[in-house]
């Protein structure tokens, strides 16, 4: 699923995108616990979270998360956006709550990290 599709499905606002919205995500993870993101997500995931601090971007950087969606309309502060820009990690914002945002994407065929095969996370030259 492309980020353009994610944007449309979640009626999301793009806060930052390094290139264009044609970047593809293979799976998604909805999580407010960064410890669990580090432990359970796979590469090239989309992360949906209600947490908006700097450590979300750091976690995304370390876990090779492809893009971030902040749910529940929670806007990240300038520092967080600046770090995402520095690390070239796309950031979007949706007013939807976590459950509904995840549900809409899942319904449209974006699998969860436990379902997507490990191999599928390592495509696109990564």
């Amino acid at each position: 699923m492309t980020l353009q599709e994610v944007k449309e499905i979640l009626n999301a606002q793009v806060i930052f995108v390094p290139r264009d919205l044609q970047v593809e995500v293979k799976m998604a993870c909805g999580c407010d616990l960064m410890s669990d993101v580090l432990a359970f997500t796979k590469e090239d995931s989309l992360l949906l979270t209600g947490l908006t601090n700097l450590q979300v971007v750091r976690t995304a950087e370390m876990a090779n998360v492809k893009a971030l969606v902040f749910v529940r309309g929670k806007e990240p502060d300038r520092e967080t956006i600046a770090l995402a820009m520095e690390k070239k990690i796309p950031v979007m914002l949706t007013d939807l709550p976590m459950y509904e945002a995840c549900g809409r994407l899942y319904n449209r065929g974006l699998p969860g990290c436990s379902e997507a095969e490990e191999g599928s996370c390592l495509v696109n030259g990564r």
Binding site: S35, A39, V56, R58, T59, M62, N64
Partner: protein, 142 residues
Amino acid sequence: MGGEQCYQETFQISGGDFTNAGEVSSKVKKILQELGVANKVIRRATIATYEAEMNIVWYARQGTLTLSVTPEKLHIKVIDEGEGIADIELAMKEGYSTASPEIREMGFGAGMGLPNIKKNSDEFHIQSVVGQGTVLDIYILR
């Protein structure tokens, strides 16, 4: 675990410095990318490094992280000056945590840190002296 060394660097980490927390791991990731280490290995190394770095920021006064890279493996040695860990077996258990509410607000403190470091290592050693500090040795094969 010997072998010809091709890179080594030591980084300082300050306890309580939340703004720069993660900077060292970010540098480690960049170095490994420049050294041409495989992405899958880099991901394991940076996740382990980041968890270890955050542990120093939250729990210790200060510490160092030394990255050594050989053609065969990565060795990440993390030494901190802090309270130490009284019961290592308990600290290694998933879900066990002594994190403060402040740490939990940042999205951490779920008791996954040390188990996750071990999970991302091919060989992992931990030593700790209460009142002095903790030493981690993380080995990841390339």
